[in-house]
Amino acid sequence: MVKTAKYALVQSLPVMAGYLVLGLGFGVLLASKGYGVGWAFAMSTLIYAGSMQYVAVDLVAGGASLIAAALMTLTVNARHLFYGISMVERYRHTGPAKPYLIFALTDETYSLVCSGGVPEGVDQKGYFFLVSLFDHLYWIAGSVAGALVGTLLPFDSTGIDFSMTALFLVVMTEQWRTARDHRPALTGLGVSVVCLLIFGPEEFLIPAMIGITVVLTVLRPALQSKEEEEAAHVRD
């Protein structure tokens, strides 16, 4: 168990750094809109979805409607459906921890639990659970600290919301760097820009989501055969 905990801790260190800073940014941003520590704690504990929480600051501060918030969450977090799909097998026999593992499956935790096996002497189920828990705690700690800093030291935070843009830009850059086929990313970019021009800044997200799914479905024969070749190539 000690070995498992140690392994989980070491593996989660990069996420610790990331979550403390991103959580901090979220907490400061939230506090700058007048919502303090309690809100940061509640949101990071219950929602626990980084990108969505940044978007949620906009929704909460702007007094969005519940329907708009639900649609926005569906759009921004739809990718979790696909993380889940790829973890169905791995999480199949994880026992009583399973509901928590599913709840805590963020982008970063996904990147830790989906990457291959664990060394000898490390309990895989225990590792899944501890990595999920550690990451959750880093995120809560970061956002609460951010809300405290933001409340105690008022400073001109105009423009701090760019941290969300920067986060998405970094993830996109990393995906671009590691992807062999750039058509999915270009589809996302192209369809979104076209929808933005047609539907305007407040209405374009849902049509964009539908358009992206349609275009990717049309491209499936081309993209999938290439993927299968790559998969075969990796196996060689």
Binding site: A17, G18, G25, V60, A70, L74, M87, M164, I212, L216
Partner: protein
């Protein structure tokens, strides 16, 4: 004030509920032992890249090239983020430097 807070609490509850639903749904639908449909597996692979590009567009939706700043703060800070990430591959550095640059630009340069 109290009314606003109740609405904010309802918003947080809705966002949390939808997020939880999305996370549990695949396990509820595909956890029963049947193989996952190939179309769904395919979407699972190609959607993340497309969605991230969409979120970037969402973040920059109000940047107006014809407006008073010509979207220069977004353009410069965004280029800095991508450039730093390609150069140093340090996520935190890229985000922190890009955000600080953007804050300086909108607070001091393009006022």
């Amino acid at each position: 004030m109290f009314g606003i807070d109740l609405h904010a609490a309802a918003l947080v509850a809705v966002i949390a509920a939808v997020t939880i639903l999305l996370r549990f749904l695949p396990f509820a639908v595909f956890g029963g032992g049947r193989p996952t449909p190939r179309y769904v597996v395919y979407l699972g692979r190609v959607l993340p890249c497309a969605i991230m590009a969409m979120l970037v567009v969402y973040c920059l939706r109000n940047a107006d090239p014809l407006g008073p700043t010509h979207a220069l703060p977004e353009l410069l800070a965004g280029a800095a983020v991508v450039g730093l990430q390609l150069w140093r591959k340090n996520t935190l550095l890229s985000i922190a430097a890009g955000t600080v640059l953007y804050m300086v630009l909108v607070q001091r340069v393009f006022v």
